[in-house]
């Protein structure tokens, strides 16, 4: 079923591992007080990010949310970018203007979200629309949490995309929780894929912890989009293994749930697949892991030594051309 090459399967492994190792490093830095602001984890959800983004082709455009660390890595942003963002450095993709994974560049295939959940869905529909107007064969992919599907923006964006048959894949990342709010208090629908009927588009649910299954499902959705068959709502069932952010001990989460999902760790599962297919031994993977760890450590030190942005740059970049001074002009004296 999977047409992935051996090399691709390794690449997927490396991406999953990089996602996790980099995040562990961020946790470390966070505990040392070196991360500015909050830290939002993707632990346990790596397969959803990596599997979906991996289904895109060059030229496609992705709109990640804050837990899609794996996705931005797939799209070619580097650990340094991510580290610099979290440490608010001048060299960060946002130049220190915004936090966490809020960065992007259309020409690099990544669109930066704003914090307001749902807002990215209409914008990514616009990406698809813009590309189509330019006769580019671009697929747009974005994410939405179980919580985010309750927003009006999600609804308007997906409905519009469906009417326009835009090449858009919306990955509904159902990790069971929206901050402290469980799925049942978010919606009375049985699952997020059920929301697709409202838009007359295909809805599908996939095991979000099985990276190959995610990849296959995403590949199908991407193919539909590329063929002109319009958007897909792809629900990835996964689980948020940590609190909403590092400050949140998630006392409200039942421990049985956590235990159950811990047993379904996507990296371990994928390692087993690689082993079962005879592609890699634990040692092979260990060697990969070591290389990644080393790289992340090196990148982190480099970023730690890099400067913060110059204070005055706070005034720059509001408009393409500067239109106003920050300080009020002095009062003119009557001559």
């Amino acid at each position: 079923m999977s047409e992935l090459t051996r090399e691709q399967k390794f690449e997927i492994y490396r991406l999953l591992r990089l996602n996790r190792t980099l995040e562990e490093k961020l946790v470390n830095l966070y505990r040392q007080g070196k991360v500015v602001g909050g830290l939002y984890r993707s632990l346990g959800q790596e397969a959803t990010s990596v599997g979906t983004a991996y289904a895109l082709s060059p030229g496609d455009v992705l709109g990640p949310l804050i837990r899609n660390l794996g996705s931005v890595l797939v799209m070619g942003f580097s650990p340094r970018d991510v580290l610099a963002q979290h440490m608010a450095r001048a060299s960060s993709p946002s130049g220190g203007k915004d936090c966490n994974l809020h960065f992007g560049a259309p020409e690099r295939g990544v669109i930066s979200s704003i914090s307001m959940l749902g807002a990215l869905v209409p914008v990514m529909a616009g990406i698809a629309l813009g590309a189509r107007l330019q006769k580019k064969n671009v697929v747009a992919m974005t994410y939405i949490g179980d919580g985010g599907t309750s927003t009006g923006a999600f609804h308007e964006g997906l409905n519009f995309a469906a009417v326009q048959k835009l090449p858009l894949v919306v990955v509904a990342e159902n990790n069971g929780w929206a901050y402290s709010t469980p799925f049942k208090k978010q919606t009375a629908a049985r699952c997020l894929a059920d929301r697709a009927a409202a838009y007359g588009i295909p809805g599908e649910t996939v095991d979000g912890n099985d990276v190959l299954a995610v990849y296959e499902a995403a590949k199908r959705a991407v193919a539909r989009a590329r063929a002109g068959d319009g958007p897909t709502l792809l629900e990835a069932k996964t689980y948020r293994m940590k609190g909403h952010a590092e400050h949140d001990g998630q006392a409200y989460v039942p421990s049985e749930e956590l235990a159950e999902w811990a047993a379904r760790d996507p990296l371990e599962a994928y390692s087993r697949v690689l082993a079962a297919e005879g592609l890699a031994t634990a040692d092979d993977l260990g060697a990969i892991d070591a290389v990644i760890s080393e790289r992340v450590e090196a990148d982190a030190s480099a970023v730690e030594q890099s400067p913060f942005p110059a204070p005055e740059s706070a005034l720059e970049g509001v408009y393409a051309r500067k239109v106003a001074d920050a300080e009020p002009a002095v009062a003119r004296r009557r001559s």
């Binding site: 930066s112 307001m116 209409p122 923006a153 509001v318 009020p328």
Partner: protein, 324 residues
Amino acid sequence: MSETAYVDAIREALFDEMERDERVFVIGEDIGVYGGAFKVTDGLLARFGEHRVIDTPISETAIVGAAVGAAMMGMRPVAEMQFADFASCAFDMITNFAAKSRYRTGVGVPLVVRGPSGGGVHGGPFHSQNPEAYFAHTPGLKVVQPSTAYDAKGLLKSAIRDEDPVIFFEHKFLYRRVKETLPPGDWTVPIGKAAVRREGRDLSILTYGAMVWTALDAATTLESEGIDAEVVDLRTLFPLDEETIVASVAKTNKAMVLHEATRTGGIGAEIAAVLSERCFEYLDGPLLRITAPDTPVPFSPPLEEFFLPNAEKVCRAARALAGY
């Protein structure tokens, strides 16, 4: 040569820009087959096809959101709000996504959100609003409101060519009431520049939109009373053309602001602040604000008339000011 109405000037700007630049497209509710609630986009569908003239569902957030995305891809979207009042339904998208994108991530969002604002046509509380001050308090946006057909065309062209998001308020009362002969060819009116509509020595009336005409009416009356009013049409509300404002007030030494939007926190407030900061030494009298009162826009004609500023109210204030 025949005269062009304000509404037609806007259509011409859209038409010309779509001809000139294939990145330009329009998107909104009922703008295609129907040509828009006020017929602003009439004929565009026939000329440019439904790829570039996009009728949408009733989804202001999706309309502006799609414009944001398309702009990021290099397009030049012009999004219509059927009434400016409904921009409230896209408020987050406009003020947080469009306005802040360049600053946060370096990705500019050259788009225009345009639509009819203003009262005087008994549209009631939700089809008469003047929401410009909300957007003028949002760094990253530019806010424009033309008072003439010439400016409507020239400013809209500038807005479309601008690298940043421009909120373009048309005044629906002017659509068919204001006409002039427009020069041929491709000309624009710069964003950020006010225009002195009438020179005067005694006091400055700083205004914009439909109220420019009210101010000119008032100035005529005042002239007969020996008060020589200067009328400044702001045209761009954010960023304000402080130089023209200051120059006018430095000359007349007295100023009033006139706008149709409600008083508290309106554009008049910002102008008061600019004058306080920059013209303190020049002012020989208080700055007066002639605005709508702090209420929603009432529907019934006598109520709306009472609510709206008019030439008489301007004259009354001007007389008081002249007496200083």
